[in-house]
Symmetry: C2
Subunit: 249 residues, 2 copies
């Protein structure tokens, strides 16, 4: 089937064009887009024009390309994370109000925490967890809270392949941290990225006691009040889990 073969490669190229934007970059020149998508300029030009016809990309007279408002709309109104974010948002607002700190919501994707929602307070400490940002499991309290509440075989698989690119943390240390987080029901991590902050996250558990999400805060070290933070987060996590189980949205 000639069509299928040709079709395959067109789909690949469409994906490469959409995925060509590096994280946080909203505008690319066509030539840079072609290079990043590994496509000849003429091919990139044709694909961009076609996708722009449908509003999936937007182009400017100067030759710059950005993702289209229509694509943003399509993806966000039908987001795979919609139900989770809708269930979690009121509780995240409660946490933000009660604790007056940045609040994050993350899911596990591969060996990384993918942040799907975030509330940050003006004047609060820096919060590296951007929406749609990722952090490796072993450097984020959300990642540790998620991984420590996965089935044993998934944790074993994660540990088997673990190698710290920075060479700072050993597999045994990560294993011990995960075991501790599983035991105590929350994960804490001090100063891995910002030396003056502390991350604390708790899992949102489904009926099988598996983490489907993690809710956490990032607080300045000097304000650490673990006695207050953990129960508040655990209360919010139970509320989110209950809303999810009810199928609320």
């Amino acid at each position: 089937m000639a069509n299928s073969v040709s079709g395959d490669s067109v789909v690949d190229r469409v994906v490469r064009v959409i995925a060509a934007f590096p994280a946080g970059v909203t505008v690319l020149q066509l030539s840079e887009l072609a290079e990043r998508a590994d496509l000849p300029l003429t091919t990139a030009h044709r694909l961009v024009r076609q996708l722009a016809t449908h509003g999936l990309l937007e182009t400017s007279p100067g030759g710059s390309v950005r993702l289209g408002l229509r694509l943003w709309e399509l993806v966000n109104r039908n987001s795979p994370t919609l139900a989770l974010r809708q269930a979690a948002m009121p509780f995240m607002e409660d946490i933000q109000h009660v604790l007056n700190q940045n609040v994050n919501l993350a899911v596990l994707d591969g060996w990384e925490a993918l942040f799907v929602e975030r509330l940050s307070r003006r004047g609060s400490v820096a919060n590296r967890a951007q929406i749609a940002g990722r952090m490796a499991v072993h450097v984020s309290s959300a990642g540790l809270a998620l991984m420590s509440h996965q089935p044993k075989h998934a944790q074993a698989e994660y540990l088997d392949q673990f190698a710290d690119p920075a060479g700072k943390v050993s597999r045994d240390e990560v294993r011990a941290v995960l075991a501790e987080a599983a035991n105590q029901g929350y994960a804490e991590l001090a100063g891995v990225i910002d030396p003056d902050t502390w991350g604390i996250a708790v899992p949102v558990l489904d009926g099988q006691k598996r983490a489907v999400a993690a809710i956490g805060v990032v607080v300045p070290l000097r304000e650490m009040r673990m006695q207050a933070l953990v129960p508040a987060l655990q209360t919010a996590a139970r509320g989110i889990a209950r809303r999810l189980a009810e199928g609320a949205g």
Copy 2:
């Protein structure tokens, strides 16, 4: 160029698959997806498989399809609305904190307000403005705030084509409402969708005094305090405009 012709239609079909999900629907059965995308089942199946390989869609063993977390991540980390939302969020939180109401941020897309950010308060009145939701200009205070601060020719073009599908509002009434909103610097709208609520929105203006966004609140009628709401919103709108002009993000 046979490739180009074939390529055109593959791009069309990819777009139709991604756009097949109705607003708020996160999961479709493959057969329903094929029908909504107007594609033969075999074609839909092949495209879904290809897109799933790249994580743009996700499939379940039961034959259900949803947008992929990877697509959500790509679109949100490079969102065309990223700079606006990042500039606006601290001010939206201020408004929510000070006024204790739902806060919306919208942009104009065609003749509709497209809501790009929203903060809703637990226990607050219903807020119809879903993120990535749309409302026609003449039934939303955000839409009126945006349209009333567009260039004259754009407003004329809008009014020329205006026809209320509900048959309740005449073109002259909309013209008058827009003129009033332009004069007073904000738009207000009572009870069009929910009879017990009132929407108030102000434009975020660029250097040419054109609205690039609108920030607004939805409040219960009994709590209407226009004297307090409008200055707070206008202050926030000026802050957002300044951040945008600084290129902050």
